[in-house]
């Protein structure tokens, strides 16, 4: 177990190293910072002096080390566009993204568990075929197309839902701008979270279905049925509990996809979260924000992935065998 933990942590460090190198290169490589500071009418000796003072003549590793040191203090420089520290800009947008993701995950759970269980226990039912058909469609529709079509039908044509933004938000203790506690905020949340779960739910429906089908064959389920337990209890307590682990871990591995999906959804719905901020910053060439976003997302990504792997390793003894022969 200890070796497994160590190996996972090492892997996490390597990934972070790559991400930080990338964001360092992005931050450092754009134009000549001294020329931007002083303009054209300065002699080259003075430029050289400023370069020396600012540490721009140091070796790559020295500069990179300084970048990491600053990054660990949350200092990524000032955003060119917002004139604020880039890290604060990102953090101000974080709640919007987290709430969107949370709403989508809740919706996904509410849809996927009953549908997945139902298709597994009644495979021949017409409704099961319907669910599987929709999950095929959902899996092969790119998320931004779902989002655009939903937006077109419900906002542009029917005008039932708002078309952009988060609506009214409530500040919780001055730390967190939440859209969960106002009707307007929830109203704005409907379409973005539906389009996110439209691609996540099919994945989980299929996963739950195949896991359920497999576990329904096992002895203990047959025994529970033979014992005369109600079928709801057998399906939702006995069976579902045991397939939760693989589902949670595979869900955790989706984090990379979810980050990419939030970028797309936020762009379509102009949701003021980190993803749309990232795309806007790319268009504005606002390098400190780009670099800060990469680092923040990198930390979230690596943290979730490592956690998921550890949970899997802890609860599933067979994974340790797999580690040995790799």
């Amino acid at each position: 177990m200890f070796v497994f933990l160590l190996r996972r942590l090492l892997q996490a460090c390597i990934v972070m190293l790559i991400i930080s190198l990338l964001s360092f290169v992005i931050q450092g490589n754009l134009g000549d910072p001294v020329r931007q500071m002083v303009g054209q009418s300065v002699t080259s000796e003075e430029v050289e002096k400023i370069r020396q003072e600012q540490g721009l003549n140091d070796s790559f590793f020295q500069q990179y080390g300084r970048y990491i040191k600053n990054a660990l203090h949350g200092d990524f420089g000032e955003s060119y566009f917002y004139k604020e520290p880039a890290f604060h800009v990102i953090m101000a947008k974080l709640p919007a993204t987290i709430e969107l993701t949370l709403a989508a995950i809740i919706l996904t759970i509410v849809i996927a568990i009953p549908c997945g269980v139902f298709t597994a226990i009644r495979p021949k039912n017409l409704a099961s075929h319907g669910i599987m058909f929709f999950s095929t469609i959902g899996l092969s529709t790119p998320i931004f197309i779902t989002a655009i079509l939903l937006l077109y039908v419900f906002s542009a044509l029917l005008q039932w839902t708002p078309s952009f933004g988060r609506g009214e938000t409530v500040s919780i203790m001055g730390l967190w701008e939440s859209g969960f506690f106002s009707l307007d905020g929830l109203y704005h949340l409907i379409l973005p979270s539906i389009s996110l779960s439209f691609i996540l739910a099919p994945l989980f429906i299929r996963l739950i279905r195949s896991e359920m089908l497999e576990i329904m064959e096992s002895e203990y389920i047959k025994y529970a049925k033979a014992k005369g337990l109600s079928s709801a209890r057998v399906y939702f307590i006995h069976a579902l509990k045991n397939i939760m682990l693989p589902i949670i871990t595979i869900g955790g591995i989706q984090i990379g996809n979810i980050i990419a999906y939030t970028i797309l959804t936020e762009t379509v719905f102009q949701w003021p979260g980190m993803g749309s901020l990232f795309i806007d910053s790319i268009n504005r060439v606002d390098t400190p924000v780009i670099s800060a976003y990469l680092m923040v997302v990198g930390v979230i990504f690596v943290f979730t992935n490592t956690l998921v792997d550890l949970v899997y390793g802890l609860f599933n003894p067979t994974v340790k065998l797999a580690v040995k022969d790799v």
Binding site: I26, S140, F144, Y152, A156, G256, I263, I279, V326
Partner: protein, 312 residues
């Protein structure tokens, strides 16, 4: 001293192909999907012949023709699917866009496959430290999604080289980045088959005959690892096309001057609320059908190539 060596290599026997083909023909949905896919491919290949206008030719674009609705609404016979905000014929733009999207898809998957197959063969055949290292890399890379990798890399490239330079080389960059993004899927599958094949006697026999290792790997082992790759190859084309469209939609992919389906959707999205729905919705439908068809084909191939999964 060299002996005349008669190497015998079989991959999938012709009879098996015949069997697969017969099974395929009996599946109506598969035939439908396949014909639609062939239709897309023909349109993509013959784009310059089919398209009524050349969307790259600015001389043909007239602002007076901008925002004309599809012909069944506006009654304008010249533009079957209407025009976009610049007065470009939408049908021609879609035909050329399909061409761009499909080419990027095919080229990027070819790149994925060649990198993945080579690394998978080497990794599986030689094993040891190299194998561990390559598979670790594959693990790490697979845990990111390909769109995320592509977004990050393209953002980096755009901010380092500048927008103008990027737009001139957009297609090469997209193929290159999407090609690099998912080699591990191929590599893992190949490696798994190589590990199984390596144990078999024909490999030992070939080795004893004095055939070089490189030749054994590529001539003897490779043909036996190919068949599961067809499914991955097909599904990856769909994945790459989706990724490309998503990137173009975000403004990180093909520029507006050389539209792919994704960039057409992106152009039209700005006009969605002014009632000009066709610029965005029509390419959306074209793209959705293409992806659905390719995924269906992948499912069919999976069923017929691995009989174990048949009738899931």
């Amino acid at each position: 001293m060299s002996y005349p060596v008669r190497e015998i290599t079989f991959s999938i026997s012709p009879r098996r192909w015949k069997h697969i083909w017969a099974g395929f023909l009996s599946d109506k949905l598969a035939v439908l999907a396949f014909s639609i896919f062939v239709f897309y491919c023909l349109i993509a290949m013959a784009a310059p012949l089919i398209a009524p206008f050349d969307p790259y030719d600015t001389a043909l674009i007239d602002l007076l023709n901008a925002e004309i609705a599809p012909s069944w609404i506006s009654g304008d016979e010249r533009f079957l699917l209407g025009t976009d905000a610049q007065g470009r014929d939408l049908l021609s733009a879609i035909v050329y866009g399909t061409r761009t999207s499909l080419s990027i898809g095919l080229l990027a998957v070819l790149m994925q496959a060649s990198i993945g197959i080579c690394l998978g063969l080497i990794s599986g055949y030689f094993g040891g430290l190299l194998d561990t290292l390559l598979m670790r890399c594959a693990d790490i890379q697979l845990s990111f999604s390909n769109i995320l990798i592509a977004i990050v890399l393209l953002a980096a490239i755009q901010s380092i080289f500048g927008l103008a330079y990027y737009q001139d080389h957009a297609m090469i960059m997209l193929v290159f980045i999407l090609g690099l993004a998912e080699w591990p899927i191929f590599a893992r599958t190949v490696r798994a088959s190589v590990l199984a094949e390596k144990q078999k006697e024909y490999v030992d026999a070939a080795y004893l005959m004095g055939i070089s290792q490189i030749r054994i790997i590529f001539k003897h082992i490779l043909p036996n690892t190919i068949s599961p790759l067809f499914v991955i190859f097909t599904i990856q084309i769909a994945n790459v096309i989706v990724a490309e469209a998503a990137l173009s939609f975000l403004g990180l992919g093909m520029p507006i001057s050389q539209p792919s389906l994704g960039s057409l959707i992106s152009i039209g999205f700005d006009y969605l609320f002014s009632g000009i729905w066709w610029i965005s919705v029509v390419p959306c439908a074209v793209l959705m059908l293409l992806i659905l068809v390719i995924n269906l084909l992948g499912d069919v191939l999976k069923n017929h190539l691995n009989p174990r999964h048949y009738k899931d």
